[in-house]
């Protein structure tokens, strides 16, 4: 440790302002603070500071994402083996999935962090940690077969247009990871919807005339619902139980299928206080409220008649409610506002699912829409506080 510290100290002047590589100041600083918590001491105000920093907060979110990632990796192998009737061991499935998912993660981080470093450099700021989380979330909400160049483009779009133009982490209006997904959705719709993209190898199989197993369909349950099939089936045509949807061994975006893995993440986030339980709870409440309401009027045999709680395990609902609606920057920031915001995210997600025939998944659009309105919700909550204060003021 001492040797490394000495080395860092030794080369520091070269990278400081005025040094030979002074223009790389931000980059050096990012690596230095990655290795060492710096020796900066408090200059003003409180002399002592909590040992938590943004790096740690982001680390917690990444840890919370791990169960969903791990399950997703296994599930990529599992779904592949089912689709092609392959007899794979657990290890083989994991290894297969790992090899498919790893490039997505690498591309996401390399492109995103690259842009973050460059923009920090241009501004002369320290490199912000925000992308550590976005960079992990983005691959998890993509179909496994998404071409890497599209992913790279989406990440670049999300970081530049979604975040840096507003001034970087903490200043953005929309969740950057969802911006990436929305970009793919609107720019390359065929890459993110349909029946052939959720399972590794299906697209290629069509081209190469490879054989899937008999009666195979790559449709996700949400995809089936959009086509009016409400007796959800697995890819091989067996009935798909609620429990299986909860566990998540079904096709879908890499990290979003397993509600149980996501719930483990939710527990970590809530316990550490990193994400708001109020948003998660009200989001579920909103979905159930609309779901049950619609259930009451629905004709039997339609998607609207599917019991409301199915929405919680379908598609990206759980992942969105736990990891994306709760983004502290883009969600409502007042405690009352969080209840309203979360409720509307859940309600809108289900409304979009049920009443928008064009696109079966409503979570992404619901969160992005509510991101837009979160400041408005907060405005009214804060306005209430202001009104109270004006009311009791002695002079006008």
């Amino acid at each position: 440790m001492k040797a490394l510290l000495n080395l860092v100290e030794k080369i520091k002047p070269t990278f400081s302002k005025g040094g030979k590589f002074g223009f790389l100041h931000s980059t050096f600083d990012a690596f230095e603070t990655f290795l060492f918590v710096p020796n900066t001491v408090t200059k003003s105000g409180s002399h002592i500071r909590d040992c938590v920093d943004l790096k740690r907060v982001m680390t917690v979110v990444i840890v919370a994402l791990m169960p969903a990632l791990a399950f997703g990796i296994w599930n990529v192998g599992e779904q592949h083996s089912i689709a092609f009737g392959l007899d794979m061991t657990f290890i083989e499935k994991v290894w297969f999935g790992f090899l498919k998912v790893l490039p997505l993660i690498i591309v996401s981080y390399v492109v995103g962090l690259g842009i973050e470093f460059i923009s920090a450099q241009l501004r002369g700021h320290e490199v912000n940690e925000g992308f550590l989380v976005s960079g992990m979330i983005i691959p998890l909400i993509m179909p496994v077969d998404v071409p890497l160049w599209i992913l790279a483009l989406a990440v670049a779009f999300a970081v530049i247009i979604g975040k840096e133009v507003f001034g970087g982490t903490g200043m953005n209006i929309w969740n950057p990871a969802l911006i990436a997904r929305a970009f793919v959705f609107f720019a390359y719709p065929s890459q993110i919807s349909g029946d052939t993209i959720w399972i590794e190898g299906l697209n290629a199989a069509k081209a190469n005339a490879m054989q899937t197993v008999d009666g195979f369909s790559g449709a996700t349950p949400l995809g089936q619902a959009a086509n009016g099939i409400v007796d959800f089936t697995t890819t091989t045509g067996e009935p798909l139980s609620l429990m299986q949807m909860f566990i998540g061994n079904m096709p879908g975006s890499i990290g979003e299928t397993s509600t149980i893995a996501i719930l483990i993440g939710a527990v970590i986030l809530i316990w550490t206080g990193v994400a708001s339980w109020k948003i998660m709870a009200s989001c579920v409440a909103g979905a159930l409220a609309v779901g049950f309401l619609v259930n009451g009027f629905a004709e039997p045999g339609t998607f609207a008649a599917v019991p409301a709680y199915y929405h919680l395990v379908l598609g990206g609902f759980a992942f969105g409610a736990v990891f994306m609606a709760t983004d502290p920057v883009t969600s409502a920031q007042t405690e009352k506002g969080k209840w309203i915001y979360g409720f509307l995210v859940g309600a809108l997600a289900v409304i979009i699912r049920l009443f928008n025939p064009g696109y079966p998944e409503g979570m992404m659009l619901a969160i992005l829409l509510m991101n837009t309105f979160a400041p408005l919700i907060d405005h009214y909550v804060v306005e209430g506080n202001i009104k109270k204060r004006i009311k009791r003021s002695v002079t006008k």
């Binding site: 600083d29 020796n39 909590d50 938590v52 970087g168 903490g170 004006i390 002079t395």
Partner: protein, 459 residues
């Protein structure tokens, strides 16, 4: 009947080095500093020159714009030097103390019959007026104002803060005189907040003519601003006054003995103090005189040698005065902790950081609830934009939206600042927000800037 107010937000930072309830020594300083910088927004006008003889209670400098407010020497002796900084800014007046303290004898009226004007006159003459602060802004009160009420916090809940139940236990009679004096200055009465957990042990609980409130909860329950906000918030157009109990003792002495005697019992605490304890001294006494209490052992953190930080006040709101500095006018303690100028390899990645406390559960200090920590001044990260926006509200038991107020200040939006409650807060109320901030934003600085803007714009 004691009204108890339970506060649910806040944080008691478990800091090691609390003072043992024992008065170790009475400090007699050779040199005492009186510092205009202790008084927010003060432009001082110097009245003495080097070599002048002064007594305890002699005015050394006055407020240039309110010349009736004077600032006195706590000891008698000769003016040793006048220290100035950049642009000849007056930094401190150093008084070489004489062997025995020679007090000016003030003519004090009998408290029962005195009018408000007579009382103000004595307080102003003696220099004790500076002890009374006003809200909004936390500056020395204006004698021409009629405050809505006067508020006193009867306990200090800050980390390692002195226990007033101990330091003021023999001062009940002086406190009672001060209560009667202060009651003359307002029609709204004198509100005292005591620690709800042991209210009966407080010297305030036995006093007459006070409106007593109990406060239970973690720090900042003992902050007078938090207490005001929970009893009756300050409204636009109103002024309330606040005073610390240590100055009420001085008011008691002034009106019984006719002297300016601000001697106080302070805590000397922190992990670099060998045996944390209490001492009696006057404000302006030199930190050097307390040095015998500070441990001489070298301290290494992660194999890197660290020095001491000498703080006049507590770790959250005090001033870094350095080893050559002196006790601030309003301080009730001196804290000595380690400087944090060390590197910690992969500090933020380590699953456990045993030596460090965190309010956030992202570290595991919640597993050891009773543990006290050796704190240091490391920032523990780099400065960022506001990201985790809901953490501040958890440690601020006031009806205020902290991030919105801070952003209004940064945007210099006067109307918004006013609407969001700038009149109700001063820096110390936001100290815990600053402590817990994962973005390492200097929040007290921002509040300070906001208050300065308001003073300028509202003048």
């Amino acid at each position: 009947m004691l009204k108890n107010i339970q506060l649910h937000k806040g944080l008691d930072i478990p800091v090691k080095g609390a003072a043992e309830l024992k008065i170790e020594k009475s400090i007699v300083s050779d040199v005492v500093s009186v510092k205009p910088t202790n008084f927010k927004n003060l432009t001082p006008k110097l009245l003495v020159r080097e070599g002048d003889e002064v007594k305890a209670g002699s005015i050394l400098f006055v407020d240039k714009y309110r010349p009736e407010i004077g600032f006195a020497s706590p000891v008698s002796g000769t003016v040793q030097s006048v220290v100035r900084g950049d642009k000849r800014k007056l930094l401190e007046v150093r008084v070489q103390a004489s062997k025995t303290t020679d007090y000016i004898k003030f003519n004090v009226p009998a408290v029962g019959k005195a009018t408000a004007e007579e009382i103000k006159k004595v307080l102003l003459e003696s220099g004790l007026w500076a002890a009374i602060k006003q809200r909004p802004y936390g500056i020395v009160a204006n004698p021409a104002d009629k405050p809505r009420a006067i508020f006193v916090s009867g306990f200090d809940s800050a980390p390692l803060a002195p226990d007033y139940n101990f330091t003021l236990k023999d001062e009940a009679s002086n406190l009672q005189v001060a209560v009667d004096v202060l009651n003359k200055l307002t029609e709204g009465g004198l509100f005292v907040g005591v620690n709800g957990k042991n209210a009966s042990a407080s010297p305030f609980s036995k006093l007459q003519n006070v409106k007593l409130y109990g406060f239970t909860g973690a720090h900042p329950a003992g902050n007078v601003g938090v207490q005001i906000n929970n009893i009756a918030p300050i409204n636009k157009g109103e002024i309330v006054w606040t005073i610390d109990p240590i100055f009420m003792v001085a008011i008691g002495k002034l009106f019984t003995q006719g002297v300016y005697d601000v001697t106080r019992t302070i805590a000397v605490a922190g992990n670099r103090v060998e045996k944390p304890c209490y001492v009696t001294c006057v404000p302006g006494c030199q930190i050097k005189d307390l040095d015998f209490l500070v441990s001489k052992k070298e301290v290494e953190i992660f194999d890197q040698e660290t020095g001491c930080r000498y703080i006049s006040g507590n770790v959250l709101t005090g001033t870094n005065v350095g080893a050559e500095g002196s006790l601030d006018f309003y301080s009730n303690m001196v804290t000595v902790i380690s400087e944090g100028n060390y590197y910690e390899m992969f500090g933020w990645v380590k699953p456990m950081r045993f030596g460090k406390f965190s309010f956030s559960k992202s570290y595991f200090s919640w597993l050891t609830p009773g543990k006290k920590y050796k704190v240091d001044t490391n920032l523990n990260g780099g400065q960022r934009a506001f990201v985790v926006s809901d953490v501040y509200g958890k440690v601020l038991p006031m009806d205020i939206y902290p991030v919105y107020l801070l952003k209004a200040i940064l945007a210099e939006d006067i109307d918004k600042m006013e609407q969001l409650g700038i009149y109700e807060v001063i820096e110390e109320d936001f100290a815990l927000c600053e402590y817990v901030c994962p973005s390492k934003i200097d929040i007290q600085d921002i509040i300070s800037k906001g208050i300065a803007t308001m003073i300028k714009e509202m003048a």
